[in-house]
């Protein structure tokens, strides 16, 4: 197995900063912005993006505008794998009705996770808009889904593994390809 680092800690910080600005720009401000991270690393990315937004736009309260969206119960491959551990879902106190929801995940691949996230969102309320932010888009989509905000497009082959590491979870911050 060979391992190759494709994004350094600095690259990731810059990508997050850029995504944060793009989100605010496309929304014409921070009004109604709600960031929902998809476990596990999507939650950490959502928190990082939210704190960048708060730093630049003080009217944005990161804590009350960030949440977690577990999609385990909505997966389409439940019957094909051992029972998966369920993670918490927590939605900002105000709910997501009429909010501008940005789903945040680490890697966009087949699109099936996002499909499940859209279903889960549907059971939680009716946002005015839903956007998608990902750190890495590695291609190989199986559903008509695309990201609105992408940290880095990384063309890969199917037998490679993209491994996103974040300090809070993995001790260091980087993106590596294993093949």
């Amino acid at each position: 197995m060979t391992t190759r680092t494709v994004l350094s800690s600095g690259d990731i910080d810059r990508a997050i900063t850029r995504i944060a600005h793009e989100i605010v720009e496309s929304n014409h401000g921070t009004k109604g912005l709600t960031l929902l991270g998809i476990p596990t690393r999507g939650i950490l990315l959502a928190e990082r993006i939210a704190s960048v937004i708060q730093r630049h736009y003080p009217e944005f309260d990161a804590a009350s505008s960030t949440g977690k969206l577990d999609i385990t119960m909505y997966r389409d491959d439940l019957a094909k794998n051992p029972t998966r551990t369920v993670s918490p879902t927590s939605i900002p106190a105000g709910g997501i009705d009429d909010a501008v929801v940005v789903l945040v995940d680490d890697v966009l691949y087949s699109g099936r996770t996002i499909r499940a996230a859209l279903d889960a969102l549907n059971d939680l309320g009716r946002p005015s808009v839903v956007r998608l932010a990902v750190l890495v888009d590695r291609g190989h989509r199986e559903l008509p889904i695309r990201a609105d905000f992408v940290g880095k497009n990384l063309p890969t082959s199917r037998d490679e593994r993209i491994n996103v590491q974040l300090t809070e979870n993995d001790g260091e911050t980087c993106v590596v390809i294993e093949s």
Binding site: N81, P82, R84, D119
Partner: protein, 322 residues
């Protein structure tokens, strides 16, 4: 976690698998508190509620849990089916198998009926024991543990066991499947169990059980700093079989009333699996007190059963017994 296929006894659960179910139940409780109380998790799965004994409460709790996970639900009650015409458990099971049941939730008057169904080879689906005779009722024990954990740890519940807690189970231990399952699960989760009943309502050899055996409720309340007291339902017909002389005497010595409740610590839970015999094992004042968790238990029952169904049915299916 290892993949459980059946839930027949509380003894099927290791400490970690029990905690995992309780943690999933916390998430299910979140689903049950939102507007759209539905998950697509078990779409396309068929779950049969096979009830050979009347129990509307348990049946609708399972039914709600199944429906909230989007399973197709069939209710098969012995009274409305050919079982009452003498069809055997085997024939019924094979019929359900032929119809493609992915899981069977069984309530039966015979102890061990769920075990027989699981190991007979008549049926391939998962079996969930919803009460078998005087043997076990494992989902009741799980919902009781969930209720205790939530009351004591609140939003910090996830990942917690019940170690150090002192729990009393009071009443007809001999005939109670709730008592048996709770005794096992509470021990698994690290709680200290006190069983309190008239000597006639303990099984023989109860001294071998991992619990403190007591004949007197008042002494237990005075001597032990109880965190929860579970009252068991006492069937009136036990009196006729001379297990105790009269309902009045039972109630006076082993019943929960305002006086005894006042001697428990304020945070103590007063639990009952329902349906209650008000005035016999529990007075109305006690049943309606702030300590009472009776309605929480009912609500939690749905969440816990959703968690059990998720754990048994969502994963990859093999024909190997876990």
């Amino acid at each position: 976690m290892s993949q459980l296929k059946h839930l027949l006894s509380a003894a099927d659960l290791s400490k970690s698998s029990a905690i995992e179910i309780l943690d999933v139940a916390e998430e299910m409780a979140g689903v049950n508190s939102r507007d759209i109380k539905k998950l697509p998790t078990l779409r396309g799965k068929t779950v049969v509620n096979l009830f050979f004994e009347d129990s509307t409460r348990t049946r609708i709790s399972f039914e709600l849990a199944e429906k909230r996970l989007s399973a197709d639900v069939i209710n098969f009650s012995a009274k409305g089916s050919s079982v009452s015409k003498g069809e055997s458990l085997k024939d019924t099971a094979q019929t359900l198998e032929a119809m493609g049941a992915d899981a069977v939730v069984i309530r039966h008057h015979a102890s061990g009926a769920a075990n027989v169904l699981a190991h007979s080879g008549w049926i391939n689906g998962s079996i969930i024991n919803a009460g078998d005779g005087t043997h076990e009722h494992p989902t009741q024990a799980l919902l009781d543990a969930f209720t205790i954990r939530r009351r004591i740890y609140g939003s910090e519940s996830k990942g917690k066991d019940l170690s150090g807690l002192k729990i009393a189970i009071v009443g007809d231990v001999l005939h109670s499947r709730v008592a048996r399952s709770n005794l096992i699960l509470l021990n698994t989760l690290g709680a200290q169990v006190h069983l309190i009943a008239p000597p006639t309502l303990f099984p023989a050899a109860v001294d071998a059980w991992p619990a403190t055996i007591r004949f007197d409720l008042d002494t237990a309340i005075n001597e032990v700093d109880l965190d929860a007291v579970m009252m068991l339902r006492v069937q009136g017909e036990r009196m006729n079989a001379s297990y105790f002389p009269s309902e009045r005497e039972y109630s006076r010595i082993w019943g929960m009333n305002a006086d005894r409740l006042a001697r428990l610590k304020p945070s103590a839970l007063l639990m009952h699996p329902g349906p209650m015999n008000r005035g016999l094992e529990i007075t109305a004042a006690a049943a309606d007190s702030k300590n009472s968790t009776v309605l929480e238990q009912v609500a939690n029952g749905v969440s816990v059963r959703m968690a059990v169904l998720y754990q048994l049915l969502s994963g990859e299916r093999t024909n190997i017994d876990a």
